[in-house]
């Protein structure tokens, strides 16, 4: 008799639970939405719960980062680095070339035109104020404005490449205007050409 009752109950339970799938949590997913799916998950509305909630977790599965080779920097003389490839600067939230920087760019253009087999990478940088994404776009504008000016001085476009580092690679890390000024710049890096 007891067995019969249990069987009847079991039958009822199976019927009532039938549409609810018992999900065993899947290990090795990270971070997974599967985590802790409950059998008889909360139906809300304050009804009494049936069944056991099985809570899984996640095991940390590392993802490999795809590496990309950095280009090789070209060898430069002390004079080239210090006197020709000097940073140019920008006003806050601006990306137009300032008049006082135009002679610097002229020097760079003349040097580059006479130098074969190298490519000039123009890095656009910003100060720390502003959000990272907007500053990345602003750095892009600064590098492009610099590139366009060099093209206007006769540098072939294929000798120039731009990259924005926004506020991600500051030269100076103090929080004041003299430091911010140093960081709002186009910086020049010479790499071996042909790539």
């Amino acid at each position: 008799m007891k067995r019969l009752i249990i069987l009847i109950f079991a039958g009822l339970l199976i019927l009532s639970c039938a549409p609810r799938k018992v999900t065993t949590p899947q290990p090795q997913t990270m971070p997974s939405a599967e985590e802790g799916r409950a059998t008889g998950s909360a139906q809300g509305k304050g009804t009494t719960e049936k069944g056991t909630a099985e809570i899984g977790g996640e095991e940390v599965a590392k993802i490999e980062t795809a590496e990309i080779k950095e280009p090789t920097a070209a060898e430069l003389t002390e004079q080239e680095r210090m006197e020709i490839l000097r940073d140019i600067h920008f006003d806050f939230d601006r990306y137009d070339i300032r008049d006082e920087d135009k002679p610097v760019l002229k020097k760079i253009a003349d040097w580059l035109i006479n130098k074969d087999n190298v490519k000039l990478v123009i890095e656009g940088h910003c100060d720390e104020r502003g959000t990272n994404e907007y500053n990345l776009a602003l750095g892009d504008k600064r590098a492009r404005a610099t590139k366009d000016y060099l093209i206007s001085l006769g540098v072939p476009e294929d000798r120039l490449q731009t990259v924005s580092y926004g506020e991600e690679r500051p030269l100076c890390t103090e929080h004041n205007e003299s430091c911010w000024w140093k960081n709002r710049r186009s910086h020049f890096v010479v790499i071996e050409g042909g790539q």
């Binding site: 997974s32 049936k50 809570i55 977790g57 490999e64 795809a66 990259v163």
Partner: protein, 418 residues
């Protein structure tokens, strides 16, 4: 099934059932005050105290519940309930439970009682491997939250963020409360702009590698990173569309940073803006129809919205300074962003009906807001401790607290959709 089925059946036989539903709390009503709740340390062993404490912290942070002082607990911790014990104290809900071990697993039986309705609202058994004590406790919090409010809790969600170490950045994921920090293994000198897929199984982001900004996709199920698009232009990942088949991004591939849509299957790019200035940080509305983004077309960066086709431009922020990093509330009725006040960035939320901004932060610089999936919380970056750190707060600015580890330079938080 890992245990004899009979134990479950026997257990279920003892469960009481109730067809009658509680009147759900309206947590959105303006006069809402937190519900006093007594949460006992669960009987059994010290794990019971731990679980109860996690549940208390979850429910307290939600702002919906006010866990009462344990000294007020006059009833036995056993699962018996007499509402007349609680009515004089003003306590409206009572939680009791017990902890046992079955085959090495942690098993908890939970009882939730409603004082006002004088009845048991919920009785439920939970089981997890011993190391998943926190996810188990958060599941209990979600169940209590749902039983009382009818809404899904966010106590099992996560926050992804970027940590800056010496020469590298790493993408980390932690529980929303800052616990169970784990590295994804994704590490590169420069990583920016994380975006979850709506199933929470993928992350899209930008990374500069080999002096080019690429958009990468990490798939946590397949456990791999894929390069989606890379060029000598500045390519910055934006939001996935709700169906996950396309994402927004900004790129200077045609000369100036503009907004594009990238269709993942066909690899087709669709240009949405055609402006000479900066258009960046596209964020999609929950219904997938409207883009919020940043444009400097008036001279300073401000927040705008437009349709997916680029039409219907509307300015959303009107501060004299700088407004960036828009994030949609999951209900689609407001947008959070970082605006400048006295030279510092603060988090604002603007209601799209009246465009009245509400300032939520005051200390230090506060940027990069991201809503929890229920819209009741915001994670953001703040440097108020002297270095960038991930914080959380309620969406009205209350209960601000850091969640990323101390001393770690952490930023770019994104609340997971699930």
């Amino acid at each position: 099934m890992r245990r004899p089925i009979i134990t479950v059946l026997v257990f279920l036989l003892f469960l009481s059932t109730s067809a009658h539903a509680r009147v759900l709390l309206d947590i959105t009503s303006p006069g809402f005050t937190a519900v006093p709740i007594a949460i006992y340390d669960f009987l059994g062993d010290e794990r019971g105290n731990r679980v109860s404490e996690i549940v208390r912290e979850d429910l307290r942070f939600s702002g919906v519940f006010a866990p009462v002082d344990r000294e007020a607990y006059i009833e036995t911790p056993l699962p018996v309930f007499d509402p007349s014990n609680w009515t004089p104290l003003g306590v409206e809900l009572v939680v009791k439970g017990s902890v046992t071990t079955e085959d090495g697993d942690l098993v908890i039986v939970l009882y939730l009682y409603d004082v006002v309705e004088a009845r048991k609202v919920m009785q439920k058994k939970y089981r997890a491997k011993a190391e998943f004590i926190r996810p188990l406790a958060h599941t209990i919090s979600n169940d209590i939250y749902k039983a009382i409010t009818g809404q899904d809790g966010v106590f099992k969600t996560k926050i992804a963020f970027i940590a800056e170490e010496k020469d590298n950045r790493t993408i980390y994921v932690m529980d929303w409360d800052g616990k169970r920090l784990r590295s994804t293994g994704i590490r590169a000198p420069l990583i920016l702009s994380l975006h979850w897929s709506s199933d929470g199984k993928k992350l899209l982001y930008s990374s500069a590698r080999g002096i080019q900004w690429g958009i990468y996709l990490a798939d946590f199920t397949a456990r791999k990173e894929t390069l989606i698009y890379r060029s000598t232009a500045t390519n910055i990942a934006g939001d996935f569309l709700p169906d996950g088949r396309a994402f927004l991004f900004s790129s200077s591939r045609k000369g100036s940073p503009d907004i594009y849509l990238y269709h993942l299957r066909s690899r087709r790019m669709e240009r949405i803006t055609w402006k000479r200035g900066i258009e960046v940080s596209p964020a999609i509305s929950p219904d997938g129809k409207t883009i919020a983004f940043v444009s400097d077309q008036t001279g300073t960066p401000q927040i705008y919205t437009m349709g997916l086709d680029g039409r219907g431009l509307r300015r959303i922020s009107f501060s004299s300074g700088y407004s960036t990093s828009p994030a949609w509330s999951p209900r689609g009725d407001s947008i959070a962003y970082a605006g400048m006040v006295a030279g510092r960035h603060q988090i604002f939320v603007v209601n799209l009906k009246n465009l009245e901004p509400l300032q939520l932060t005051v200390k230090g610089n506060n940027e990069e807001p991201s809503f929890s999936p229920d819209g009741r919380f915001i994670t953001f970056t703040s440097d108020r401790d002297g270095y960038k750190r991930v914080y959380i707060m309620r969406a009205n600015g209350e209960a601000q607290r850091p969640v990323s580890p101390g001393k770690m330079r952490a930023f770019g938080p994104k609340w997971s959709p699930k």
